[in-house]
């Protein structure tokens, strides 16, 4: 093990942390870390998808009946909103690589606005379910017309899955809004951490696409069940 010196910290980058030799190494490490985290998120959501698959397979008819209670128009609208937000996120990352501060900020703001729109629509959707006493638990007492002929126990199971999974997803949206907000703050203050290096923006983008992608699976699984 010869120990020739490696010239450490040859070119100082403002965002470079002490444990890395150069910014390329840092960026690569960050990306590996981010993707590992996403794998972890996929396994996390994978667990609930497994539960969904099992019960859908077992109670297909009841799931079909009760899914009419979900408003597919609102779901489709939200899907569009999230898809558009992913587009604006891509544009934000694109302009971040070009170091175009204003356009990055604008696109991030657009993404945030979409996220808020999504949550507002979700609020009305959840509200309707509470109104029809479709929230699972001791207060689950929907009128017959809202059951659409489904077995009440299975209907409750379906609503449990619906609230559980979309709730976890909404939590991810809220966390996303917070992260994008912080990122916007950095851009606004011209923090060299983000203006000199596009990677932080890229990583927030990866997270946001993941959240979007989860919804792309959730929408057909809950709102578009075939007979």
């Amino acid at each position: 093990m010869a120990s020739t010196a490696v010239d450490t910290h040859a070119h100082h980058h403002p965002g470079l942390h002490h444990q890395f030799e150069d910014i390329e190494q840092q960026n690569e490490a960050y990306l590996v870390g981010m993707w590992s985290f996403m794998v972890n998120e996929i396994m996390f959501f994978g667990g609930v998808f497994l539960v969904y698959c099992l019960y859908r397979w077992r109670y297909q008819d009841d799931f079909y009946a009760i899914h009419h209670e979900l408003n597919w128009k609102m779901g489709a609208f939200n899907t569009t909103v999230l898809l558009f937000s992913s587009f604006s996120m891509v544009m934000a990352v694109h302009f971040a690589t070009l170091k175009d501060r204003m356009k990055t900020l604008m696109n991030l703001a657009l993404t945030c606005a979409c996220a808020f729109t999504f949550l507002i629509v979700k609020y009305f959707e959840y509200g309707a379910k509470f109104e029809h006493k479709l929230f699972p638990g001791p207060n689950f007492r929907p009128e017959l017309e809202h059951l659409n002929g489904a077995n009440p126990n299975v209907a409750q199971l379906f609503m449990s899955l619906y609230f559980g999974i979309t709730g976890l997803h909404a939590l991810h949206i809220i966390i996303g809004i917070l992260i994008i907000g912080i990122l916007m703050g950095f851009w606004y203050k011209k923090n060299p951490l983000v203006t000199e290096d596009f990677l932080p923006t890229e990583m927030v983008g990866l997270y946001w696409h993941f959240v979007d992608l989860v919804w792309i699976f959730l929408f057909p699984l809950f709102y578009l069940i075939p007979r």
Binding site: H18, V32, M43
Partner: protein, 558 residues
């Protein structure tokens, strides 16, 4: 390896700042990003929880001295063994070697200045401690009686104890474990020193790479499972409980999908330690280096396909059980590869019987017994007889205490001089290692027999079979010896911190980047990042090189 770095310098240098005395305020410890300091924080936390878990274990052993029980009510007994299980698994075994020694030595071994994400590392410690405090609160506020497995519907519908808080605590421990895993993966991929190729990684690092993969793939599944149990308990939504339309076997599938691989989270780092100990105390390159490295990954991969062997007596289909049984047998192959390769390394090695090597030898024997008795539980016919008996208890204690804990103790004794720059008494170390070995076997060998005879686990009394008492008394005696053996290192290691002789950079004459830097290491690990030019565990190279250097020196003198 250049000569100046191998041999302790002859001219005593003035006292330099190392990671321990570089900043002494409490804040400099609690807000540190230094992986070595975080490892020390973990060491303190983990030792504390190990102590709590040991007290619970002592209470269990005391209770079983008499067929009618000694001290505890049935309910209390349930809470005590649950506390023992949860504390030892989630707060000791899972983080033990990775969070202390992985944290401390992976950057040193691969020639990096720190882990890739120091702040994430610190966060993982806080999350771990928060989880630990939450579990302590759950314990002191009335306890939990579900067993560490949180089986539904007991945990979600019927238990009136602090299950929710305990579940949150386990969730926190899981999050901390995920953060550690992500950090290790990024570090091992991207932070290796120039010349430190994958083929030159110490086997300790390989083992942690495999462990991290399990942490990232498995832990989120148990996290979501526990969240669902929590939903069910809080909102009475029916995911797992049959009363609410759910399926309890689904819970078992999801739980064991993590919790069987979690066994490998606990034991793979121990195997990594074992490889280091065997190589360095036999002064020999590990026989079959590549096979050991790849077998770690094979264990990680196969570990995900065997969870069904916990469920032979559930409603799982017979054909499913058959497949799981076959796959479970397959895990024995990579484990055996390791054991045989270690044995081959010892053969004709220059064996030095110092304290860490005592633990390494103990590991080989005990883990082999643990692994071989696992085959009884992997084959369906014998498992149906043995399910939920003391045979199972003895089996997994042989793997987890005989394997993981022994390796943990071996690691402490091996790396203590590097971590704290002090030497402990080798003879006391050997005595304690022997006590641990004897005490451990005396505790758990009788449990194999009594389990085979039919003693069920988790029973607080056994007055219907008073003939089991002799075995239980032997077991309790053994646990006392084990307790003394475990208490001794606490004393002499703490003593060595203050009064022990100072350690040189490489007191064992071991091979590896971590022994190149000073003991204790400086905050930035290496003055200059080393360039690796020789193979891993290359003791021949080192010896030749040193002789060559000495010859060159003597020529110069002439």
């Amino acid at each position: 390896m250049s000569k100046t770095l191998i041999q302790p310098r002859e001219i005593p240098e003035q006292e330099e700042l190392n990671y321990l005395n570089n900043g002494t305020s409490l804040k400099s410890w609690l807000l540190t990003g230094d992986h070595k300091r975080i490892a020390v924080l973990y060491l303190i936390g983990i030792s504390f929880f190990f102590f709590i878990g040991s007290i619970a274990a002592g209470l269990i052993r005391l209770q079983l001295m008499r067929p009618t029980g000694v001290l505890l009510e049935n309910d209390t007994y349930n809470k005590v063994f649950t506390a023992h299980g949860i504390v030892m698994i989630f707060f000791f075994l899972v983080p033990s070697i990775p969070a202390v020694f992985g944290n401390f030595f992976i950057p040193l071994m691969i020639g990096a200045r720190d882990l890739a994400f120091p702040r994430l590392n610190l966060l993982s410690w806080y999350v771990y401690m928060l989880g630990g405090v939450m579990f302590l609160a759950a314990m002191l506020g009335g306890g939990v009686d579900t067993g560490w497995t949180f089986y539904v519907p007991l945990s979600s519908m019927y238990s009136n104890t602090n299950v929710s808080l305990a579940i949150l605590a386990a969730f926190m421990a899981g999050m901390s474990s995920i953060l550690t895993g992500v950090n290790f993966i990024a570090t091992i991929h991207k932070m290796r020193a120039p010349g430190m190729t994958w083929g030159r990684l110490p086997l300790f690092v390989w083992a942690h790479y495999a462990t991290s993969i399990i942490m990232v793939l498995g832990t989120p599944v148990v996290a979501i499972t526990l969240v669902l149990v929590l939903f069910e308990r809080t909102f009475k939504i029916g995911i797992f409980s049959p009363e609410l339309g759910g399926d309890p076997v689904l819970f078992q599938h999801m739980f064991w999908f993590y919790s069987h691989p979690a066994v490998y989270i606990m034991v793979l780092p121990g195997m990594g330690v074992q490889s280091e100990l065997i190589a360095n105390f036999c002064r020999k390159k590990v026989f079959g280096y590549h096979f050991i490295a790849i077998s770690s990954l094979a264990i990680a991969a196969l570990g995900f396909l065997v969870w069904g062997h916990h469920m032979y007596v559930s409603s799982q289909s017979m054909y499913q059980s058959t497949v799981f049984s076959l796959l479970s047998f397959l895990v024995a192959i990579p484990s055996a590869i390791k054991i045989f390769n270690w044995s081959a390394t010892i053969y004709k090695g220059d064996v030095r019987l110092q304290t860490p090597m005592y633990y390494a030898l103990a590991f080989m024997g005990l883990f082999t017994i643990g692994g071989l008795t696992g085959l009884y539980l992997a084959s369906i016919a014998t498992d149906v007889h043995l399910t939920a008996t003391y045979f199972v208890v003895a089996h997994f204690h042989y793997v987890m205490v005989g394997g993981a804990l022994t390796a943990y103790l071996g690691a402490i004794h091996y790396w203590w001089p590097k971590m704290f720059g002090r030497l402990y008494s080798d003879s006391l170390g050997k005595v304690s290692a022997l006590l641990v070995f004897v005490g451990f076997n005396l505790t758990f060998m009788p449990q194999f027999i009594v389990g085979w005879l039919g003693m069920p686990r988790r029973y607080s009394v056994y007055y219907l079979a008073p003939e089991f008492q002799a075995y239980h008394i032997m077991s309790t005696l053994g646990s006392t010896v084990l307790g003394i053996g475990l208490f001794m290192p606490l004393c002499y290691l703490t003593y060595s911190l203050f009064k022990g002789p100072r350690a040189s950079a490489n007191p064992w004459g071991a091979h590896g980047l971590e022994w190149l830097t000073s003991s204790p290491p400086v905050t930035e690990n290496f003055k200059q990042i080393p360039i690796v030019t020789d193979e891993v565990y290359d003791f021949d190279y080192e010896r030749d090189h040193r002789e060559h250097a000495e010859e060159a020196d003597s020529e110069e003198v002439e």
